[in-house]
Amino acid sequence: MATIETHRTPVIARAADGSATSQKLQRTWDGKPGLGGWLSTVDHKEIGKRYIVTAFIFLLIGGLEALAMRVQLARPNQTLLTPEQYNQLFTMHGVTMIFLYALPVLSGFSNYLWPLLLGSRDMAFPRLNALSYWVFLFAGIFLYCSFPLGKAPNDGWFNYVPYASLAYNPGPNIDVYALGMVLLGISTTVGSINFVVTLARTRAPGMSLNRVPILVWGTVTASVGNLFAVPAVSLAFFLLWMDRQAGAHFFDSTAGGQPLLWQHLFWMFGHPWVYAIVLPAMGIVSDGLPVLCRRPLVGYTAVALSTVTTMVLGFGVWVHHMFATGLPILSLSYFSAASMTIVIPSAVAVFAWIATIWTGRPVFTTAFLFFTGFVLLFVIGGVSGFMTAAVPVDWQLTRTYFVVAHLHYVIIGINVFPVVGGIYFWFPKATGRLMNEAFGKWTFWVMFIGFNVAFFPMHILGLLGMPRRTYTYADNLGWGTPNLIVTIGAFVFGLGIMLFLVNAFVSLRHGRPAGPNPWDASSLEWSTSSPPPVYNFAVIPMVASRYPLWENRLDDGPDRSSVGTGLVLDKERETIGTSVLDAEPDVILKMPGDSYLPLLVAVAMTAVFTCMLLHSWWGAGIAAVATFLGSVGWLWPRRALAQIET
């Protein structure tokens, strides 16, 4: 048996793609061919792409649900959908978009980009990364399992009790939602842990915390937020499941329970979650927009701090979803003022983007249009949020279409637009080919106009008093015309999404070859080839500034990053571990190879929840044991994975 290596100082050398070093790395890092390799890979780039593709499939499903509802609401008193069908559709639309699209698509971006942005070879826990994807996929399928039976969740995505309790909702609908959300929470939690540790430990040497891209700040802020927020919602759904299946009375007012407890637990999670699904997307813009304005972001530090501040404040505002529940006026006043202060960090970010455009030289690419369009939509969604933060005004606006308009400006404006812009921006990195720019600009205008035609009139519907979640409406309230306009806009927006997907599919094969750095961008991912090799970087770069690829031209101080020359780590799968603040190298991390264990553990875990749904307690027990054994096998110490001090 070979002796265990405990100490090694990595060699610093130059190596490019095609060199002996890179050929060795290729052999070391390459996965198995075929289906086996597909199921067992832990490559962050594969997982990231899968996250994005899966999230977009859910986006399409949620979009079709929305269009069905829009047809129903296009005219008054229509009967295309039954009330129960409508209720299941709006519930699954919300669940799908918020839980199965909005965060997963950003997880996909960050999974794909983080190690490339940070100058590393993979996430800190590659197998955990795979587990997080598989559990997300299975939880998504789980949440849809009762949809074909007409028994999908039907109480809205925030699922208020007591309508969600057994007395009023006896079918399996709510059990599917409760168990599915606990399962999905596992995926979110392990994914978040992975991001936090990856940021802390696997940045390239010299990439101190004040040099990481804003996308990294956004994602790590979202991840820390999720680690605090997700337990609240997992607990809430578990308690609800206990109420329904074990006769507990946590939320049952007839037995001393408290319906408002649900709302507190849900929104303690729900509001931070809203920031988790927008902050990384804002990071996409903060990193992409400056490249297209040909200058660094104005106010990097201010934007990074505003990102964190938004999340911190986001934990103190949940009651603004409950202004009409009869809480004391003093308490409402506090939460009202706290909610309004979120305007401040948002203003910092908005003016940083505007200043970047004003003091830069904008290049009119499709991504630029999406990023700039995003800024306007962000402001519209922001000011409507500011209006609902005012307690008495919210007593009128809440639960009307005004709120529906607001939340779609926030989620589509601040998530979908940056995501689509981000795909135009990073598509050449991931595929080696550029998307079609002329077609892309058309796509932008179809999406932008369709979006505003669909969602701006919803503000007016809200001001005309139309409550949300109504499957139809009378013809004498003035709601008919705005609803018809909304429906038309929704179809135009849907067309825009389809155009975008067509562009992506066609460009995958026929796009213009991109080269490593088509936008002449500044960060590390653009220093490697497009698409990047499986090992990301032939040598680990050494970073001396925030914009390693622009240093010579920015005249950014005397220090220079070293990109083609760096740490050679080519024995087995290795990357460098660095210190938390200053990113000084301290260990060589041995990375695990491809493994079926994440998939197996995810299957076993899903089996636990499926058996619980079917009341097969023995099955659930067996699946739990399988989950445990899989985890033991996973965590069993292996000498080959021991860290090496430098």
């Binding site: 408002l260 106010g299 009869g326 200043a355 455009i357 904008p362 700039t372 209006m387 004498n476």
Partner: protein, 339 residues
């Protein structure tokens, strides 16, 4: 500037027309002290919000088109580090201005919150509202027990007097909302929330449940009829009386059918049994609508509704009854006597 002009010029033209005519849910114009300060605040914040959108939009367009012509097409300019100081000024000035406006808005908001929390004068009348899937039960309190009565879905109040509402739920969460008279207050099982409103102008105001409460959430409306104190007193006198025995044979036959098929859920004072699952029908014919605001209370609608509630309101707790044609006509004839 007139706020309505601003809103109309920003593309919200359909608002004014919606403010007239039939009972409306629009709350750009409101009619009582529980809501008027909110309406002014809403206009104020709305105008500030629209201004922010316009200003930011202009800044974006200005920034985009200012340098556009100098860029050679299809060639990326070299990145430049321009002095951050000029850029930072944007953040300082922009955020600073935002904070000043924000502080003003917070103060205004808190003042309005305090102003509408309680009525200026004493509330001389209390209505207990019990929300159920998918209708509103009303009980008018009185110190004299003989003056207490129940009704449903149509609240009468005297003009110019603050009225107190005690809100409770018989099943799930609902939300009590009459936008032209007051903001929403949720109706939550296990607790009694209190709201108040006062109508300064006589008229019929529409309300609707605002919290998702199940399949017929869309059809859970109510009306508030604000009338002169004299008209209100007359209405109240009418409501406290018991029903009278029907005069015609057909109506009498209808009452017998009602006792078998309908009375287990519906109360008509003077008739047994007196169920409470559905609305009190003692003075049904004094109401403007049927089925919680769904249908105008006409003879045809009443007959149709009794024949098939599930057609009009699928999922409602009132089942389709198998009544023969003559039975149906007899019940309707009986109900028509309930003035």
């Amino acid at each position: 500037m007139n706020p309505r002009v601003v809103l109309a010029s920003s593309g919200l033209m359909m608002l004014p027309s919606a403010l007239q005519g039939e009972p409306s849910m629009a709350y750009q114009r409101t009619f009582g002290p529980a809501v008027d300060p909110i309406t002014r605040l809403g206009w104020g914040l709305g105008i500030i919000s629209l201004s922010v959108i316009v200003i930011i939009g202009a800044l974006l367009l200005g920034g985009i088109f200012r340098k556009r012509s100098t860029i050679p097409a299809a060639e990326l300019p070299q990145p430049t580090a321009r002095d951050d100081a000029g850029g930072m000024a944007w953040i300082y000035i922009g955020t600073g201005t935002t904070v000043l406006i924000l502080i003003g808005c917070v103060v205004w908001t808190l003042l309005v919150t305090a102003a509408v929390a309680e009525p200026a004068g004493a509330r001389e009348m209390t209505v207990e509202v019990t929300a159920s899937q998918w209708w509103w039960s009303l009980r008018y309190d009185n110190q004299n027990p003989g003056q207490i009565f129940n009704t449903a879905n149509e609240i009468h109040i005297p003009v110019g007097r603050p009225v107190r509402f005690e809100l409770s739920s018989a099943d799930v969460i609902h939300s009590f909302w009459v936008p032209q008279l007051a903001g929403k207050m949720d109706v939550i099982p296990g607790q009694t929330n209190v709201a108040w409103m006062q109508a300064d102008k006589a008229g019929v105001y529409r309300g609707q449940c605002a919290a998702f409460c199940g399949p017929q959430h869309a059809h859970m409306a109510l009306l508030v009829v604000a009338e002169t104190p004299e008209a209100f007193a007359a209405w109240r006198e009418g409501q406290v009386t018991e029903s009278v025995m029907p005069a015609t044979d057909e109506a009498h036959h209808g009452q017998l059918i009602f006792e078998t098929h309908c009375a287990p859920c519906h109360t008509i004072r003077g008739v047994t049994p007196a169920g409470i699952r559905g609305p009190d029908l003692t003075h049904l014919m004094t109401r403007r609508t049927l089925a919680a605001g769904l249908l105008p209370n006409t003879p045809e609608n009443l007959t149709g509704w009794i024949a098939s509630p599930q057609f009009f309101k699928p999922g409602a707790h009132m089942p389709d009854h198998i009544l023969s044609g003559p039975e149906l006509i007899a019940v309707a004839a009986y109900l028509h006597t309930l003035n």
